[in-house]
Amino acid sequence: MTAVATLPGTFSLGLSRGATELREFFRQKENLIFTVSLPAILMLLLGTVYVKEPAAGQMFAASMIGAGIISTSFVGLGMSVVADREDGTLKRLRGTPMPFTSYFIGKIVLVFVSSLVEAVLLMAVAMLRFDVELPSTAQKWFTFGWVFVLGVISCSLIGVALSSIAKSTRNAAGVLNLPYIVLQFLSGVFISQAVLPESLRVTGSLFPLKWVCQGFRSVFALDDGYAVMEAAGSWELGKIALVLGAWTIAGLLLVTRTFRWSNTTS
């Protein structure tokens, strides 16, 4: 058949899906409030308590950006896949010639744009209200870039994998938010990991959130001396790449094994 030659390309369809995903995402108030703005609002509220000096502001803002992109990727993307399954989007797509990869590219576009919007909003709040300074060197922006990308991708994949467990959006809110909230306490977002008991610290260190936050703290710290405040006493950039890379691979395997197009089919 010659028809295959004329069917639209996987990548261009992916971008077209991304545009449609974004349009749908930003038209929903819940997304604007909870997924995109909540981290900035928390920064404003908690920052008033935590930030007594500039150095603390830098560290807290960095941790909040880390927690924020997990909210848009892990929780946000997981929820959006559950919703696609619940309202029949996935089933409809499966009945069209759209390649599965295009759906996935669309979700990646969605998660990167929503994460960026969320992070920019949060940084704006931090800069205006708490005089937080942006990283000053290209080296630091480079670190910011790869931690951001690896963090978003690994957490998106885990979110999508977990979404297969949840049968409905109501279920999914619990399945995804519970680990997210617990991990924020174990990963040094609200309280330093250094003050946690050994067992909790180790538990937190198994998951991406701690490493994403640590990576961002290394970028936002006023100088590298602040590394002594980390549990290991250093930034451990190599280990961050390793852990996030491992979760990306594990997430990919989990998604390809567990992905379901619908709740009812078998």
């Binding site: 058949m1 028809a3 295959v4 004329t6 069917l7 639209p8 369809l13 077209s16 449609t20 349009r23 749908e24 038209r27 929903q28 696609d84 309202d87 029949g88 989007t89 089933k91 409809r92 499966r94 009945g95 069209t96 010639p97 759209m98 390649p99 197009w261 619908s262 089919t265 078998s266």
Partner: protein, 274 residues
């Protein structure tokens, strides 16, 4: 080659046999209606043909391929209207139709399709704000946007008002006139009679009758009922020779409220599934 060929199709859910050995042949260009009570296995059968559900046993060929293994090109030749959908709630009708047009090699014009299903006035409304019948029309639009060779419609006219239903019949007839093969399920017997070249009645996962709407289950040869009003009230005679009966009766003068009826498709259907 037939558009659809099914032999010995079986499917069970947790011990419940939803489809219990179905054979089906739908020729290219044919309009075929599957009738049957709630839970008969219509959706299950149709979704197996669409590649949405797996099967336990049987041979299935749709447009020459096995739906369980068919790929992208195969799907580009199908149009699917599922029994229910609530997706794309935050897109407008126009955005949704235009977006789904992008998946196909040679789609219809989105504006034309919106016009065809009678949604032109709602083109700028969000799908989530449409009424039940309007939402259903959007589903039909998304099902035919790719210029499919074969269209599956699972209860497409649920919630349509009478005018919209007639309008939809016109749409299906024009698709059929272009050579599109159509398999639809419906609970409206008049719809099946108006549209279908052939119908099959599914009950308890089996096909209990199959034929043209006019001849299903011996309908064409069934006795006619002659009915009229006399001074003793309504009178009825069931006969295979109504002309003769009326000729006899009319010798005594004019017959008030005279009618001759044969069993409707609905009568035949109800008898079949009883």
């Amino acid at each position: 080659m037939n558009a659809i060929r099914v032999r010995g199709l079986k499917k069970a859910y947790k011990g419940h046999q939803a489809v219990a050995g179905v054979d089906l042949d739908v020729a290219r260009g044919e309009v075929f209606a599957v009738l049957g009570p709630n839970g008969a296995g219509k959706t299950t059968t149709v979704e197996i043909l669409e590649g949405h559900r797996g099967r336990d046993a049987g041979e299935v060929s749709v447009l020459g391929d096995d739906p369980a293994r068919a790929g992208r090109v195969w799907r580009s030749r199908l149009g699917i209207v599922l029994q229910s959908a609530s997706d794309a709630a935050n897109l407008t009708v126009h955005e949704a139709v235009r977006h789904y047009a992008k998946y196909y090699a040679d789609p219809r014009d989105p504006d034309e399709v919106i016009e065809l299903v009678g949604l032109a006035e709602k083109a700028k409304s969000r799908a989530g704000t449409l009424s039940g019948g309007q939402r259903r029309r959007l589903d039909v639009a998304l099902g035919i946007i790719g210029r499919p060779e074969l269209v599956f419609l699972d209860e497409p006219t649920t919630g349509f008002d009478p005018e919209a239903r007639r309008h939809f019949w016109g749409l299906i007839k024009s698709l059929a006139a272009e050579g599109t093969t159509i398999l639809l399920t419906t609970h409206y017997l008049d719809e099946a009679e108006a549209l279908a070249d052939r119908v099959a009645v599914l009950a308890g996962g089996r096909i209990v009758a199959e034929g043209t709407p006019q001849t299903l289950n011996g309908r064409a040869h069934a006795d006619a009922t002659v009915r009229w009003l006399s001074d003793r009230g309504y009178q009825e005679v069931r006969t295979s020779e109504p002309t003769k009966v009326i000729a006899e009766l009319s010798r005594h003068g004019e017959l008030a409220e005279l009618t001759v009826t044969r069993p409707s498709l609905e009568d035949v259907y109800l008898e079949l599934i009883a």
